[in-house]
């Protein structure tokens, strides 16, 4: 194991972490502001990927595809919020879990109904394909660097939006006291639709970006959804900073665990058994991390203390 390989793996961990952040940010915002658990967030990720693939196939432009992903996911989000989610704000978590579970069924089979049962094609644009050589001689795919860059820019924009703009002030106020901002004349219903659409757009964009290096298929949202939940629970629900830290932790644990655990076991076991035990444990690693964090800090790293 050379230092170069370790650097490369850390980059990989960062990249998967930053994409998870895009998913988790929306999820944690929606929970923080509206108090809603949205299991259907993964479906919006899928909607983004399918919209991008269909648009890119029709127009030949990856950029238009990304635009379509943003628009389609935001529209789907706003629509779902108006039709369904709005009725769930004052319900308990149980009803929210069930209703959004139902939405997953509808979204998944609906997508299959429209696009068929086979995976769609979405590829990296030529300008971003292929590897580049980093200082130190590491060959690294340009597109993955692009993903890290886009993710960081979006994270920065989100922090600015929440911290420095009027909308951000309202969102933060909504997290703390929704009666108060309603009394101040803010249209709460519109604010909620907006926040939901924003979260959906981020998820859709993540779906499109990741879709280019993965398989665009029905059900692609659920594994990411579960990971995103792990992220926001580790970070503390409602905290954007927590989502960022949690996403990077999960991304790095998942990537590095898969590399180092088998090697660790190889020190004490025969190689075949070590790879299998290591692989088994590394797939459980992030859940162990989450359980450990929750036992240590029951409301996550950056969650509000009760």
């Amino acid at each position: 194991m050379t230092p170069l390989l370790i650097v490369e793996q850390v980059l990989n961990g960062l990249q998967s972490g930053i994409m998870l952040f895009l998913m988790a940010a929306g999820l944690t915002l929606i929970f923080g502001v509206m108090g809603l658990i949205n299991l259907a967030h993964g479906s919006l990720f899928m909607v983004g990927a399918f919209a991008a693939a269909a648009t890119a196939a029709a127009t030949g432009s990856f950029l238009l595809g990304l635009g379509a992903a943003l628009v389609a996911a935001a529209c789907a989000g706003a629509l779902v919020e108006r039709l369904v989610i709005r009725r769930l704000y004052d319900r308990d978590h149980l009803d929210q879990v069930l209703a959004t579970f139902a939405l997953i069924l509808i979204f998944s089979e609906g997508t299959r109904w429209i696009f068929g049962s086979f995976p769609l094609y979405l590829d990296i644009p030529p300008a971003l394909s292929g590897p580049v050589t980093l200082p130190g001689g590491i060959q690294y795919p340009l597109y993955r660097l692009f993903l890290i860059g886009v993710g960081l820019v979006l994270a920065g924009a989100l922090f600015w939006l929440i911290g420095r703009t009027r909308l951000g002030i309202r969102i933060r106020a909504g997290e703390n006291d929704r009666e108060m901002i309603a009394a101040l004349g803010v249209d709460i219903a519109r604010l909620y639709t907006l926040v939901f659409a924003l979260g959906a757009a981020l998820a859709g964009l993540a779906g499109a970006l990741v879709g280019a290096i993965q398989s665009v298929q029905v059900g692609m949202g659920e594994p990411v959804l579960i990971l995103a939940f792990v992220v926001i629970v580790i970070g503390g629900i409602g905290s954007i900073t927590g989502a960022l830290v949690g996403a990077l932790l999960v991304g790095l644990t998942d990537t590095l665990g898969g590399i180092f655990l088998p090697r660790l076991f190889a020190l004490v076991m025969d190689p075949a058994a070590a790879t299998q035990t290591g692989a088994a444990l590394s797939s459980m690693a992030i859940y162990m991390l989450m359980a450990a964090v929750l036992v240590w800090r029951p409301t996550g790293l950056f969650g509000a203390r009760t």
Partner: protein
Amino acid sequence: MLKQLLASVALAACATTAMAEVKVGLITTLSGGGAGLGIDTRDGFMLALEQAGRDDVEVVIEDDQQKPDVAVQLADRLIQSEKVDVLTGIVWSNLAMAVVPAATAQGLFYLSTNAAPAQLAGAGCNPNYFSVSYQNDNLHEAAGAYATKAGFANSFILAPNYPAGKDSLNGFKRFYEGELAGEIYTDLGQTDYAAEIAQIRASGADSVFFFLPGGMGISFLKQYADSGVDLPLIGPAFSFDQNILQAVGDAALGVKNTSSWSKDLDNAANAAFVTAYSEKYGRLPSLYSAQGYDTANLLLSAMDKAEVSDDEAFRAALMEADFDSVRGKFSFNASQHPVQDLYVREVVREGDILTNQIVDTAITDRGHAYEAECKM
């Protein structure tokens, strides 16, 4: 008068043959992420029946949702209320393991259109179980044989961490004579292979063998093509199937993959099948379509020779495999699995679409590795 009488007796005789209906239960995956494979299986199977134009076969089609417990429940329903004679259609090995042993124990015939796990080929072989596709290890063995033939001496191999993944790597190693640069098990359903690709790059391998079915393979191929690692890739046909290739795109071009069938296999039955399938469904057939088609034709050929109610005779009729396989020569070995040639294909572009072309034969007349364990 006598003539008339004879004619009516002949007619009556015909009528009795037509009465001897065979009822087939086709359980396959028609919804969810894996639906594409089941749809191809079904379409291939039904095409063969339609071409035969016979009204003595009734097919009941059920969707297993790729869930083992649903498959078991459907099998129970088909056996108990539909009273089917033959079951077929399951795509996934874990579902086959849930259904097949119970079905054959109840005296039904099971004809496998795809899944053929080692357990059912070896110690768990059964007189009522026929695999029309292959034994699961076959395509991986062919990849191993091809890697040796191509002169690769230091392969990096990877597969998901589940039983079929382990069987795959073992199958590859059975016919591969070089060294291994590395051997890794990935998570089932994993979507990001950056970490594995980095290991491949660092390993000093001269080739890569991978078994990553479904969406996993699409993700791996796209990321591999973009990583700048340009070692030759070998894989079994599953990641290069007609329906998946279009989603992988150019990343798959030139990759060698092993299969028991290809659309350019040169025999009359195959040419007719590919034309008819494309005309009827508006898309090219896949390996699953071909296997479904062969299974239905095998069944029809056996029905011509024996009554399904006569177990012994029907089994013997199936064993003869007296049908025109789209794979050319086709026969069963004693454990009722195919003996067939395994080919190496290369992904090429034909007009707008990506498809496969045979470039070599990896192993001829391959049965499988578990024959000795089958006591039947």
